[in-house]
């Protein structure tokens, strides 16, 4: 088990830990992850960092069900995620954002409502016939989606088409959509990539708000060291698919292996948001 800051984490009691053990992922001869282990304690913000190609996205992809694990396990509560399809994992309360925003055509509201899919139930028959249960459900969830949009600062653009929104705002929509899934674990894939300083500060505050208000666990991949060190309670460092360090941000920043992996850039603040 890893040690972490003594700050009391106010987790929602329904949030279980995410326990990754010995996770190995291979593609066509390349080992993307090599027996990686980490634990996300309920309610903590856990940073996952490492140089490019270290395997951070692969880790996310396995947890969300996009990649298949060659070995190891990912347990979230009583569910073994490596055996599940992405939609089944979503139903278990795991939501993620994507590095390259993947919003669908339509308005912000429509995208957020798609995020509500796993917690709504109206099927083909109920929707086609506009049964009262389906209509009421849609109205209820739309209202909730609007609340979430406002929480994230998107209230003004709720009905706007996403295609017309600037990059920074679309990143927020991506985040809001993940929140609409009412997740217990939120996987954020480079949430501030491509943003300017003001946007980064705002996003950072939003992420803190999410943790404070919702009490959910957050696993965060980012290249912006300053952001990660400020936000994270716990950090895991990957390099070439292996875990090379884990601990509090202070501990990790001083770890010689980490410094070596980054070739001395641990004290600089490299530009985040590469392709």
């Amino acid at each position: 088990m890893t040690t972490h800051r003594a700050t009391a984490l106010k987790a929602d009691p329904r949030v279980p830990p995410l326990v990754v053990e010995g996770l190995t992922v291979r593609f066509a001869g390349l080992v993307a992850l090599d027996a990686v282990s980490l634990t996300v304690v309920p309610g903590e913000i856990h940073g996952l960092i490492g140089p490019n190609g270290a395997g951070k996205s692969s880790c996310f992809n396995v947890v969300s069900g996009v990649y298949r694990a060659a070995a190891g396990s990912v347990r979230f509560g009583d569910a073994e995620l490596t055996a599940l399809r992405p939609d089944q994992i979503a139903a278990r309360g795991v939501a993620r954002t994507f590095q390259n925003i993947v919003l669908t055509r339509g308005s912000v509201a429509e995208n957020l409502m798609l995020g509500r899919h796993s917690i709504t139930r109206a099927g083909f028959v109920a929707s086609a016939l506009r049964l009262p249960s389906a209509v009421a459900e849609q109205a209820r969830h739309r209202a909730r989606a609007r609340e979430i949009a406002e929480f994230v600062g998107l209230g003004a653009v709720f009905d706007a088409p996403v295609a017309m929104l600037p990059y920074g705002v679309r990143k927020r929509v991506e985040l809001a959509r993940a929140l609409c899934m009412e997740p217990k674990l939120l996987l954020l894939d480079e949430p501030v990539a491509g943003m300017n300083t003001a946007e980064r500060v705002a996003m950072s505050r939003t992420i803190e708000d999410i943790r404070a208000v919702l009490g959910i666990s957050i696993l965060l991949v980012e290249h912006d060291m300053g952001l990660v060190m400020r936000l994270a309670d716990e950090v895991t460092v990957l390099d070439f698919g292996r875990r090379i360090a884990a601990g509090t941000p202070d501990q990790v920043q001083r770890d010689p292996d980490v410094i070596r992996a980054y070739l001395g850039t641990a004290h600089d603040e490299p530009e985040g948001g590469d392709a």
Partner: protein, 295 residues
């Protein structure tokens, strides 16, 4: 036993002709990323040209000219496709369907209700190999298709052109950076598909088939399952798929009477039945690769 061997030979001959079409699809798929549903009309054009020109130019002359014109026609289709505003798979495929509808309408009109002979040199002569009778056209198709297919594979593997095709399909950006002229490469693919189609139609129309008629285009549709069975975009797969379909079709025709409980005309649907069976067990095709998506 002789029936069986005859069936296998006929099946392989038919399969080799389908392979010419299926390879054409495969090249176009790798080059342009879409399925060319107009391959049937490209093929019919080739056939019509051979029919019209063989009196004046002799069979081989007509075939060469037809192949050249068909190649140009194919390239014209490719250029038209470039004008499509939406570049997604379905839109491009539908564009080829639109092209096919127009082209086929005109070609059908030209052919009318006639059944035309391609004027090939083998006619209806039969070859007798110690009791096994095979139409000469079937032997010719095996040989000619075999040569073309072998040439294709050798070129694909060992020439600069082939390497460019493979690289371009695998990683278009890197290929472009290495100086591969993607546009020209794509057009060369379409042109080759056109040539192969022109050769294929001769054998689809020749003895013992009736001749070139409006329905010949539909026979060509059987090459689609061939390409899919093998795994779309895989030339070796297209070959395997085509031979499999050819032999199954021949078998269905030969043993039709034993299978009469399933109805008559089984050889027509044999390609599709094989495809459904293969896809049920291997959705990516026999030699296709399972998709690995990276987000």
């Amino acid at each position: 036993m002789t029936t069986f061997i005859q069936m296998v030979i006929n099946g392989l001959a038919l399969g080799s002709v389908y392979a010419l079409m299926a390879l054409g699809f495969t090249i176009i798929f790798r080059a342009a990323g879409t399925m060319n549903f107009a391959q049937g009309s490209v093929m019919m054009l080739g056939g019509l040209l051979v029919v019209r020109l063989h009196d004046a130019l002799g069979f081989w002359g007509a075939l060469v000219v037809a192949a050249a014109i068909t190649a140009v026609f194919s390239v014209l289709e490719a250029l038209l496709l470039r004008a499509a505003k939406r570049r997604d798979l379905a839109s491009l495929a539908i564009m080829t369907i639109g092209f096919n509808t127009v082209a086929l309408a005109e070609l059908s009109r030209q052919i009318g209700v006639d059944v035309l002979t391609p004027g090939d040199p083998w006619g209806s002569r039969i070859l007798d190999l110690s009791g096994i009778t095979v139409a000469q056209t079937r032997v010719a198709s095996l040989v000619i298709a075999g040569v073309l297919i072998a040439a294709f594979f050798l070129a694909f593997r060992y020439t600069r052109w082939g390497l460019s095709m493979r690289a371009s399909a695998m990683d278009p950006e890197a290929a472009a950076l290495m100086g591969i002229r993607r546009g020209r490469l794509e057009l060369s693919g379409w042109a080759i598909a056109g040539v192969l189609a022109a050769v294929a139609v001769v054998f689809l129309a020749a003895f013992p088939n009736q001749g070139l008629s409006q329905t010949t285009g539909e026979i060509a549709l059987a090459a689609f399952p061939a390409a899919i069975i093998g795994g779309l975009g895989n030339p070796a797969g297209a070959l395997v798929g085509s031979l499999l379909i050819g032999v199954t079709e021949a078998a269905a025709g030969t043993y039709q009477n034993d299978l009469s409980v399933l109805g008559s005309g089984l050889s027509l649907i044999a390609p599709y039945v094989v495809m459904v069976v293969v896809l049920l067990f291997r959705p990516q095709g026999l030699l296709g690769a399972k998709e690995v998506s990276r987000v």
